[in-house]
């Protein structure tokens, strides 16, 4: 019993950290630009494909591929922000939804054409393959990697928001974009950088989470609800909220997989719908703070 509980909590933690990495950028764009982005999962998929291609085709070492994948996702996101998404801030929500779901379809189609319709594994170095013995239970090393990278990104996000000039500008823009602009902060650049960094984190999550959320063309559509759920349950705009929501939903789905495998998805959605009926604005709703 105790070991089952421990398994659920540990696996749930690893899964939750992956969900957090992928979703945190989404909550920032939603809180910052009021931009509903259904295409966010695409950046995780791009990261996964980039890492897989770099490792199998160019023989790049795993750690380097991980970083490069995040950069690739960030650069593609920056290009999209400048060319298309920038013009959608302030447009009606429906337009944002339609545009980004259109981007999702284009992304799925392009991924299918470039990489085929089957799952693409992200090969691991020997050191990270196989299982690790934690003393009371054996678990795939990959999941430990996911949890560690997740914790490191959490630290990086905290440093970025709390200890850098960019963090100050970002928080000022979230609080009051107009006042921030009048004080000389280039809010457009803040938006673009925040969007791109969020996408890079999603790319990172896509690579280390490849075991839990396999990389395939339908990735952005298949896990769309999962990523949106993290943001909605956590409270749009709240980084801390998405962390808690990601861990909560990750643990719930993992528990479902252990206890009633056929009903994990239903269980997850029901928990989510209950939380949202109780608090429609999420657990940690704040009007204008990160």
């Amino acid at each position: 019993m105790a070991s089952l509980l421990a398994s659920i909590l540990i696996d749930g933690f690893a899964y939750g950290m992956v969900l957090f990495m992928v979703s945190v950028g989404l909550t920032v764009t939603l809180g910052l630009m009021r931009f509903v982005n259904l295409a966010h999962g695409m950046f995780a998929m791009i990261g996964g494909y980039a890492a897989a291609s770099l490792i199998t085709m160019a023989g790049v070492p795993y750690i380097l591929a991980l970083i490069l994948a995040a950069i690739v996702a960030g650069i593609i996101a920056l290009g999209l922000e400048i060319s298309v998404i920038r013009w959608m801030y302030g447009r009606p929500e429906l337009d944002q939804v339609l545009l980004t779901i259109g981007l999702v379809f284009i992304g799925i189609a392009l991924a299918g054409m470039l990489f085929g319709n089957s799952l693409v594994p992200v090969p691991l170095p020997d050191m990270l393959r196989g299982a690790s013995d934690l003393g009371f239970r054996v678990m795939p090393t990959q999941r430990i990697v996911a949890a560690v990278v997740g914790l490191l990104s959490l630290l990086a996000i905290w440093l970025l928001l709390d200890r850098t000039m960019f963090g100050i500008r970002l928080r000022a823009t979230v609080d009051n974009a107009r006042a921030a602009g009048e004080l000389g902060i280039n809010t457009r650049r803040v938006y673009a950088i925040a969007f791109s960094v969020g996408a890079a984190l999603a790319g990172l999550g896509g690579v280390v989470g490849a075991e839990l959320l396999p990389v395939e063309p339908y990735y952005p559509l298949k896990y769309l609800v999962l990523f949106l759920a993290v943001v909605a349950v956590g409270g749009p705009g709240s980084v801390f909220g998405s962390l808690i929501a990601a861990l909560l939903l990750g643990t719930v789905e993992t528990a479902g997989k252990y206890l009633a495998p056929g009903f994990a998805t239903i269980g997850l959605f029901v928990v989510m719908l209950l939380v949202l009926s109780w608090r429609p604005d999420g657990l940690f709703h704040r009007k204008s703070r990160l």
Partner: protein, 319 residues
């Protein structure tokens, strides 16, 4: 306000368009019936998206509920079609009404995500309940009695065409009337500024729940029609992909105008029909491009494009 003859002409447009299409494609009546059924579904979606201003990706839930309800009704209760339609509409309305109580407290991204989650929960339940619904294999094995005891369903879809066209006509005419009632006006006012309607004493929550339930009922009706004319109900009728597809049809035609729903459905299904030979991946690319192009360059869809051209030709300002 439109003059009396224009209004009558508007009401007659659906049967006229049906007859023209029949003359153009005399051997494809089953396909035309499919267009009419999809048009009813897209009209119901327009109620939610265009008139109430709520972005949803879970509308297929009500369509699927109606389809399964009508199929099960024909299989186990009575295979009379018209009462089957009522069963389907009720099922759609019940699903919509029950979920609306929860949905309408949320907004924006949370609302959107909940619509997806609800339709996926329904999808999972239907796919797990193999004994009742047939699961992945779909629900089949029911046959329908003649409509009104007179007209038999046939293999070529002749009756399916007239039957669906008649229902589409009735739905379209009633919805046009509904839009100009105080209720319809209030729903539109809520879309434009919910806060103001609330402070003027309007019941925002209640109007949204009612319009969502009504829309669910119409979607269920479309589902029932589809079940009766095709005589198979598949899981895909509940999928999020299908919800997205009908949203594309609506946006293509133009949201917030009932005409938009009709034009969008027609154009989309005809393109889809001819593009059936190209592989699904390219089709997806095509849909995505349509969406992006319309949102960026022609918000308001084809009907707005037509209105703009008309205004340009007559030298007046576009509405």
């Amino acid at each position: 306000m439109t003059s009396f003859p224009t209004r009558i002409l508007g009401d007659l447009a659906v049967p006229l368009a049906g007859l023209i299409l029949l003359a153009l494609y005399p051997s494809q009546q089953a396909f035309l019936a499919q267009i009419a059924i999809t048009a009813i579904l897209v009209l119901s979606l327009d109620l939610v998206v265009g008139f109430a201003g709520l972005a949803t990706l879970g509308h297929a839930a009500m369509f699927g509920a109606g389809a399964y309800a009508a199929g099960l009704y024909a299989l186990h209760v009575w295979s009379e079609p018209l009462t089957g339609l009522i069963a389907g509409a009720l099922a759609g309305a019940v699903v919509a009404g029950a979920t609306a109580l929860m949905l309408m407290r949320a907004h924006g991204l949370t609302f959107l995500m909940m619509t997806v989650a609800i339709s996926q929960v329904l999808y999972e339940i239907v796919s797990k309940a193999r004994d009742v619904t047939g699961g992945d294999d779909g629900l089949f094995g029911f046959t329908m009695q003649p409509v009104l005891g007179v007209w038999e369903f046939d293999f070529f879809g002749k009756l399916a065409f007239w039957y669906s066209l008649a229902v589409l006509w009735i739905v379209f005419v009633l919805l046009r009337r509904l839009m100009v009632t105080p209720f319809g006006q209030t729903v539109r006012a809520i879309r434009d500024d919910a806060g103001r309607v609330g402070s003027l004493g309007g019941r925002v929550y209640r109007h949204r729940v009612v319009v969502y339930t009504l829309s669910g009922g119409i979607a269920g009706l479309a589902g029932a029609l589809s079940a009766q004319t095709v005589q198979v109900v598949g899981l895909s009728s509940l999928s999020v992909t299908y919800s997205a597809e009908i949203l594309v049809m609506l946006v293509l035609g133009g949201t917030g105008r009932l005409w938009g729903a009709l034009v969008g459905t027609l154009v989309f299904t005809v393109i889809h029909h001819y593009a059936a030979s190209i592989d699904p991946v390219r089709w997806m690319l095509f849909i995505g491009l349509i969406l992006v192009v319309i949102v960026l360059f022609l918000p308001g869809g084809l009907t707005r494009g037509i209105a703009l051209i008309h205004a340009w030709l007559t030298g007046r300002r576009a509405p």
